[in-house]
Symmetry: C2
Subunit: 197 residues, 2 copies
């Protein structure tokens, strides 16, 4: 697992900003190191001073975004009392963040998972914290008898996370709009009460 930078020299900041901008216009594979360097006003060599390789740059940018996202989610859930309300806060905060930051969403949902190195990165460590948060809320809900006692926290976490991601996928891939409120309450409704008559 790669640790994260403390200092941030101007060159490093410019490189990350340049890359983020480019990710808004094209996909990772189409972006070249030469392009990133030119756009940032630095030389190619400098990029390799701060980042192990092109993928490492991708993971660092994702980490930066995810750190902000995670603290938002933590704040929103802390503000709710019931377990179901906390879960709905997570779903809507996630959909909202993905909606407002398509670059972040695209990196997380489409661009990083193809490489085994991602699952050792500091970015994936944040994702693990995020999914653990969901499980903890579920466990708390079971303990407080808000949820059925035979609920499997791991499975419910997967259902919720899967629903969030699949809802965003269509939006990110085909650049569609999304009714965050309708989608999040719809997901929570299915998961809470089921669809069987």
């Amino acid at each position: 697992m790669k640790s994260v930078n403390k200092t941030s020299p101007p060159g490093r900041i410019k490189i990350m900003a340049s890359f983020s901008t480019l990710m808004g216009t094209k996909d990772f594979q189409s972006i070249t190191i030469a392009e990133i360097a030119k756009n940032a006003g630095v030389t190619e060599g400098l990029i390799y001073k701060y980042f192990k390789d092109k993928k490492d740059l991708l993971y660092q940018v994702l980490y930066q975004h995810f750190a902000g996202f995670l603290s938002l989610v933590q704040d929103r859930t802390a503000a709710e009392n019931s377990c179901i309300a906390k879960l709905e806060a997570i779903v809507s905060a996630s959909l909202e963040s993905y909606s407002q930051n398509r670059v972040f969403a695209r990196i997380l949902l489409l661009e990083v998972r193809n490489s085994p190195a991602y699952f050792d990165s500091c970015a994936y460590a944040m994702v693990k914290k995020y999914s653990r948060l969901i499980r903890e809320i579920v466990c708390e809900g079971i303990a407080k008898k808000e949820l059925k006692p035979d609920t499997d926290p791991f499975l419910l976490q997967k259902v919720i996370l899967g629903a969030i991601e699949h809802t965003c996928l269509k939006q990110v891939i085909f650049d569609r709009e999304l009714d965050v409120q309708a989608a999040s309450s719809g997901i929570i409704n299915i998961v809470s009460y089921g669809v069987k008559k």
Copy 2:
């Protein structure tokens, strides 16, 4: 959208088989054209006679697997009567297929989605058929009053597909085993009756 081959010359078959084998040991990016050719006993040039580029080869292999998978799913669902039973058949057939063919699962869940070209490929066309099948079953369930009338077929499809994929992700990424029966009945149980007490 790329159309699909009719004939299959020996070289073509060897190339696809070689590539499939290599995908079992390493990820797409790490596999080189030279390696695929050597392993198949053909020259690099021949690969480009049958496949537009390296990604096209990936999509063709995925298409081949998915075609078999989809017909299995269709058979299994046709054998069931109730809507819930059909959905459970889809979930368990999917988890089973992904379990038994990790290469297929890894390609579908991790390796293809980063490229915009995938969403124009014949492989993705199969995925669309698959998700449409789920929606159709849901609509049928609503019509037959098995499911609640206010159920959103698109949303429920996303929840089910998301749950399937997230359940497989852990397994594929960390090479874990999976209790298909427990997972599929667990997912269907959550979606049918909900988790709220």
